[in-house]
Amino acid sequence: MKTSHTGKFAAVFTALMLVCSGSLLLDKKVSAAGSGSITGSVKLTGTAPHMKGIDMSKDPYCAKQHATDPAKMENVIVGSDGGVENVVLYITDGLQGAEASAVPSDEPKFDQKGCMYIPHVLVVDAGQKFQVITSDQTTHNIHPLPAPGTGNIGWNKSQPPGAPPIVTDWKAPEAISVKCNIHPWMHGWHVVVKGPYAVTDGSGNYTLKGLPPGAYTVTAWQEEYGTQTQKVTVAAGAPAKADFTFKAK
């Protein structure tokens, strides 16, 4: 239930949660266990696919938001040096129970802005709450489409302008495609993982933090090119290295 009152309350609550979670993270840092990390970059070889421009003329409001910088598809975003953005890196093997089951208590936001999803790829821990918010003055419907039988149940809800955030979570690890039917071009991802994760920046670099020393399998997921894995051994102190390279189709 979200009246304006509970809405305010939710906001305050969220703030509190953020504070707490911050302290929790600090707590994590001091514990020697999570001191290790993996860094690296994800690159694309071959010619990057052409990202078509998006014509939003159907909804004048959306079109106006992109009057100056036309929107483009975000399936594959390649930096100047071939680095791929929005690649998700997470641990598929080697995590001890504690790290695997630890669920961050902060609530990442999945915003609808200028009739696009920000971020295009939202990574959450299984069971971690996240918020779907809208900054647009047009009504969107949010329609995640998990594959049947994964344990995640799909839903389809509208958010009129100024509607309170939708706070929810996903039960099982899965890469879930999210779309808006009212604005068919709107497309994003909810990537649900277990344990620590990282997302590559504009130049394809990432750092996977909070890992105790040990041997791990790191998986890189890209929406068009699927997954790649590497075995990495993390020692205390010095960050381990893992670079990935996807081949353009």
Binding site: G53, N156, I182
Partner: protein, 267 residues
């Protein structure tokens, strides 16, 4: 009470008629070559319906006024001619009236639906889906590639399930979110729905046609006035129905050609 009621009926009927007569709210201006008969038919019907409406309402009011305060001594009288008059009246007046309407209407309908598109009509394919229209122009080769349902993907902006790598016809197809047509050129619109029932309605163009999944229909029309109009969906298709629309730009021939070039570049 009764007299007041009679007056109320008359006042309401006249007030209801005024906006119609003054065209306060009326059909958008016609920009099609086939629209005139429809508009004539509309005014024709409006006149006859209006007369029947006012006549019978006023008659009702007058009778209420006349016969509501009769004295006990009054005798009940029959309407001259009785029921026979009524039946004849219904058959002769209304019957002939509506059948005449029907006949004229049939002609208006026929010249929309029973005429084949001209050979030089520009083929444009429209894809309806929750909740947007997308349009495909055949490009220089003048022919559309096939639609591969399994390739249909809004996420990849492949709204027609085009496989340009394997279908030569698809290579030069142009897909747009807005419909542009040259003025005074006949358009042959090929309608396809990828999911549910939708409808293609442009009031100014005097066209409305449902999309039927699994049944590809087509329409043809000519726009006679440059401008930007709206295409709306009139068939309930889900939560976004109210926002399922696209713009229709009627352009001069050269504007159209340039526009098409620009769109081709964007593919």
């Amino acid at each position: 009470m009764a007299k007041f009621f009679a007056v109320t009926i008359i006042v309401i009927s006249i007030l209801s008629a005024i906006p119609i007569v003054r065209h306060t709210w009326w059909m958008a201006q016609d920009i099609s070559t086939h629209g005139q008969p429809i508009d004539d038919q509309m005014s024709e019907t409006m006149a006859e319906a209006g007369i029947s409406f006012l006549a019978s309402q006023i008659l009702l009011a007058v009778f209420i006024w006349m016969f509501s305060n009769s004295k006990p001594s009054d005798k009940v009288r029959n309407f001259p001619g009785g029921a026979t008059t009524m039946v004849l009246g219904a058959f002769l007046l209304v019957g002939t009236e509506v059948l005449a309407l029907g006949a004229f209407g049939a002609k208006a309908w026929a010249n929309v639906y029973f005429t084949p598109p001209a050979a030089n009509a520009i083929p444009i394919q429209v894809q309806a889906g929750q909740f947007a229209f997308y349009f495909r122009y055949p490009g220089p080769d003048g022919s559309f590639g096939p639609i591969h349902p399994n390739l249909l993907s809004e996420a990849n902006q492949n709204f027609f399930g085009i496989d340009a790598d394997h279908d030569p016809d698809s290579k030069d197809d142009i897909v747009t979110a807005e419909m542009a047509i040259p003025v005074n050129r006949e358009i042959h619109l090929l309608m396809h729905s990828k999911d549910l029932g939708h409808s293609f309605f442009v009031p100014e163009l005097r066209v409305q046609q449902d999309f039927v999944p699994g049944l590809d229909l087509s329409m043809h029309f000519t726009a006679t006035k440059i401008g930007r109009y709206e295409i709306v969906c009139t068939q309930l298709c889900g939560l976004g129905h109210y926002n399922m629309k696209a713009y229709l730009s009627v352009m001069s021939q050269e504007d159209y050609d340039n526009w098409l070039k620009k769109q081709a570049a964007l593919q």
